[in-house]
């Protein structure tokens, strides 16, 4: 089971993060509040089925970090009708692939199957939506698996540790401060009761969206969904507090020491997300309509390809860095976004020199704007990406599921390319001047330590 930190992963080798296409998408709602979105794609006799829950680390509370992800693991551990392990065996027997992933904003379960097996997916997913059986015995084994996952993902990966510190330093009040996989201490103290509480709180048809992409007929899928999911009773969900991050009023820094050879730097600036379904004409300002798009274009100009400004100037021309990137993801359910830059200084160069070089590039945008050629390249990438991504049904489903779960209207898939294409040099300059300023900046760096083979891992001993 994957923990996807989409917000972090998307910018490293930033290909343009466009979503677009929006071919033939149909939306349905069941009486119990379950949403169903179907995109017909008849290129191959296959189907992708994804169940998205609006429950991620964003909804966790202190002391119970990681419970959303732990529950994702427990969802494979059985119901009364389908004992532990059987879910995977039944999907495998149908030739299917399956997995799940948890992020800040959601938990998603998916299967990829030959198209005639969609009913099996619905049968099994509807069963575990309502009837999960979390036993103490299965919990006690799986929490150990999740701790191994944290060790593998975070403890032994210096850049992951930097990222964890970076998030925690950037956000002081907002839950995006906390790691999706959870803190080790919280995992050590987690109980089966915590998992049950999470499941009972958030796993309900009125908190879920099913996305189906493939060689299917939308009306048939709707009937199938009504048959399998229609009988599940909705229930009231816990209140979600806004938890707005207070404005940052001065730069922040964090340093991580870990075994390694090369330093590493992450730099972030708070910036606005796209407006969701909660916004109205009365509440929104004109800037909110275009600023997030301008920030995405800025990401493309700085880091959209190997000749974009950061790689061309910092890696190729001046050799300050061996690796550098930037990017912006304009969508988030928590309505908090970061414009992020990162890089690894070349041998003999310091993180301070890299930081200065990154800031010089930002200042150049503020004073000189961007060229028409640079804007045209971003547009060319948007147009091409719009077509290329139709080659993957899974990716198309991901886009729809993410948007809906984050509280956006999926119709924005249709307008997105044109909104990006409409951005001007002046608008890119304006968002750089407004958001990419020092008082709004957080920097986290890795201070690599020589490897002492005899050293014990840092931190208190792990106790069962």
């Amino acid at each position: 089971m994957i923990t996807k930190k989409i917000k972090v992963l998307t910018f490293i080798l930033s290909c343009f993060p466009a979503f677009a296409f929006a071919a033939d998408i149909k939306e349905f709602s069941l009486k119990n509040g379950l949403k169903l979105i179907v995109q017909e794609d008849h290129r191959s006799p296959v189907v992708v089925s994804q169940v998205w829950y609006r429950a991620g680390s964003l909804d966790e509370v202190n002391g119970k970090t990681g419970v959303a992800h732990l529950l994702e693991h427990m969802m494979f551990k059985g119901t009364k009708k389908v004992p532990a392990g059987q879910f995977s065996r039944l999907i495998a027997a149908a030739g299917g692939k399956e997995n799940a992933f948890t992020g800040n904003d959601y938990t998603c379960y998916f299967q990829q199957l030959e198209k005639s097996h969609l009913p099996l997916s619905f049968k099994l997913e509807s069963d575990r939506m309502a009837n999960l059986n979390i036993t103490d015995e299965e919990f006690s084994k799986e929490i150990k698996v999740v701790m191994e996952e944290r060790r593998w993902r975070t403890e032994d990966k210096p850049q992951s540790k930097v990222n964890e510190q970076f998030q925690a330093t950037t956000y002081r009040a907002h839950p995006y401060a906390r790691p999706v996989v959870g803190f080790m201490n919280d995992l050590e103290n987690m109980t089966a009761a915590d998992a049950r509480e999470w499941y009972n709180n958030w796993y309900a048809p009125n908190n879920a969206t099913i996305v189906v992409v493939g060689d299917v007929k939308a009306q048939d899928v709707y009937k199938l969904a009504a048959q399998y999911f229609g009988g599940i009773k909705p229930h009231a969900l816990p209140e979600r507090k806004p938890q707005v991050e207070p404005a940052q009023i001065g730069e922040r820094r964090a340093v991580v020491k870990a075994p390694g050879k090369l330093p590493y730097l992450m730099m972030g600036f708070h910036a606005p997300t796209l407006l969701g379904l909660e916004s109205t004409n009365a509440t929104k300002t004109p800037e909110q309509e275009w600023e997030p798009y301008a920030l995405e274009v800025l990401g493309g100009v700085l880091s959209g390809n190997d000749s974009a400004r950061l790689n061309q100037k910092l890696v190729r021309e001046t050799s300050i860095a061996v690796d550098v990137g930037a990017g912006f993801d304009a969508t988030a359910r928590g309505r908090e976004a970061l414009f992020e830059l990162s890089g690894t200084p070349s041998e003999g160069k310091t993180v301070a020199e890299l930081e200065a070089a990154l800031i010089t590039q930002i200042e150049l945008i503020k004073t000189g704007g961007v060229t028409q050629q640079e804007l045209d390249r971003v547009k060319a990438a948007v147009i091409a990406t719009d077509v290329y991504q139709r080659d993957s049904m899974f990716y198309q489903g991901m886009q729809i599921g993410q948007l809906v779960t984050m509280g956006y209207d999926w119709h924005m898939l249709k307008t997105y390319p044109d909104k990006l294409k409409a951005i001007t040099s002046e608008q890119v300059q304006a968002v750089a001047k407004k958001y990419l300023v020092k008082d709004n900046m957080t920097i986290a760096t890795l201070d690599p330590q020589p490897i002492d083979p005899n050293a014990k891992p840092v931190g208190k001993p792990h106790v069962h």
Binding site: M1, I2, C15, R43, S44, P45, V46, F76, G85, S88, A92, A93, A94, G95, G96, K97, N99, A100, F101, E114, H117, K141, I143, K144, V145, E148, R151, W152, E155, D156, K157, P259, G260, K261, L262, G304, N305, S307, A308, Q312, R316, S319, D323, S346, E347, D376, R377, A380, V382, I383, A384, V387, D391, S392, I451, D452, P453, A455, P457, H462
Partner: protein
């Protein structure tokens, strides 16, 4: 989750076409002698192309380690008088994506472009293949970056274990060489080394061209002809030497301060087109390839909670590619986890799978066939593998039948004949 990348590697490694599948492959040879594999598909206005050369890291020697990888990479950083900046911008101006891959056997160049921009995209792509400049100044800079990467990798448990494993498994065979090279070989590398490597291994006669997408066969023939005719006209490349099997166990332990021990174990496995391919592929699905339903996952993760990931796979190559088992676990339980893995493997090799397990494996592999070819990107990779390894065209149509024919007896016999746990190579990084 299980290591999905390994599952994907295997899927890509065995190309399959079902007799009913609506994928029709055309195959011909260009006048300069390149093999071409083409699938026409007008669903999307895109063209995908891959050009493959027998120019992987097995062509390096201990003294020249890294030349294959640097040659492939440097070809994209200056060609026909165009700088790296000009090349990248020419692709970016039209939204085309140029990428590449390197493994022990193969160097590949890939292009994805909108049909409407394909003429421009191919012009730049062909310049890279035909007229690489290998600019000295770029090489000097890239050598520094590559060395930084090698030094960084030398601190990371996953890279350390993988490198030590290949070295222990293959000894003097070139499959033991690190694709990235070594600090001293990269330092010593000269522009002339890259030019010589290019001239020797990038000949038209050795090239395999895969094409899929929005073009007619006539257009595909023109594209392939143009690409092929501009390549060096040298001789076809010779075969890679055979792998020698280990004659005794080799267990290595490497210190590291990480919280987890990273463990790899295995043995030289199978070749492309190997007579034991299907019994071992299906058999490995049951042992450690079938994600959540394999014996290794069941014993090590599901029953005991010792790992997040444990897997086994065969990576068939031109010569015997690795059969590899991998896991990571908290240091103080590494011994326990390894014991369970060894017992599970020994029991499986001794007793083979049950009929029930075999049926489940076949159901998944055969039933999952449509997902192997549900995108142009996936089919392109399969065309490259078929072409590069000269797999028979009938093999594709017969794939599901070949899987269906496998018996528990064949699996047991093939594992006993080919996989010798008593001579396994094992590497533990971060042992307590």
């Amino acid at each position: 989750m299980k290591k999905l990348q390994f599952i994907i590697v295997l899927v890509a490694s065995l190309f399959v076409l079902n007799a009913n599948a609506a994928v029709k492959i055309n195959h011909w040879q260009t006048s300069a002698g390149s093999d071409v594999y083409f699938v026409e598909n007008h669903d999307l206005p895109i063209i995908d192309m891959a050009v493959n050369f027998p120019a992987g890291s097995a062509r390096d020697t201990v003294a020249t380690s890294g030349v294959a990888g640097v040659t492939r990479y440097m070809m994209t950083l200056g060609a026909a008088g165009m700088s790296e900046e000009v090349i990248t911008n020419k692709f970016a101006d039209i939204g085309a994506i140029s990428s590449g891959e390197l493994d022990v056997d193969r160097a590949a160049f890939k292009l994805r472009t909108l049909t409407s921009e394909s003429t421009k995209a191919l012009e730049t792509f062909n310049a890279i293949l035909h007229k690489p400049d290998f600019p000295d100044s770029v090489l000097t800079r890239e050598k520094v970056r590559i060395i930084a990467g090698i030094n960084e990798a030398a601190t990371m448990p996953e890279s350390i274990s993988s490198k030590a494993f290949m070295k222990a498994l293959y000894g003097a065979h070139p499959y033991s060489l690190d694709e990235s090279g070594e600090v001293d070989t990269i330092t010593a590398m000269k522009r002339d080394d890259l030019i010589a490597f290019y001239n020797q291994y990038y000949s038209a006669k050795s090239a395999v061209i895969a094409l899929i997408g929005d073009m007619t066969e006539a257009q595909a023939r023109t594209i392939a002809e143009t690409t092929s005719s501009g390549l060096p006209q040298g001789a076809a490349v010779t075969k890679i030497v055979e792998v020698t099997l280990p004659s005794a166990a080799n267990n290595q332990s490497i210190s590291h301060p990480a919280t987890q021990a990273h463990i790899l174990l295995g043995y030289p496995g199978i070749k492309r087109g190997d007579a034991d391919y299907f019994p071992l592929y299906v058999g490995n699905y049951i042992l450690g390839g079938g994600g959540f339903v394999s014996r290794l996952t069941e014993e090590v993760r599901e029953k005991r909670g010792l790992v997040y990931s444990v897997y086994s796979y065969f990576m068939p190559m031109a010569e015997l590619g690795p059969f590899q088992i991998g896991l990571q676990t908290k240091k103080d339980q590494a011994g326990e986890a390894l014991k369970v893995v060894n017992e599970t493997v020994a029991k499986y090799i001794q007793g083979g799978p049950t009929e029930k397990e075999l049926k489940a494996a076949k159901d998944n592999i055969i039933g999952g066939f449509p997902m192997r070819i549900d995108s142009n990107g996936k089919i392109l990779d399969y065309l490259s593998v078929i072409g590069f390894y000269k797999l028979p065209m009938t093999y594709l149509d017969d794939f599901n039948k070949s899987v269906a024919k496998v018996t528990t007896k064949q699996i047991k016999e093939a594992f006993q004949r080919r996989i010798k746990p008593e001579n396994f190579v094992s590497v533990t990084v971060g042992a307590q």
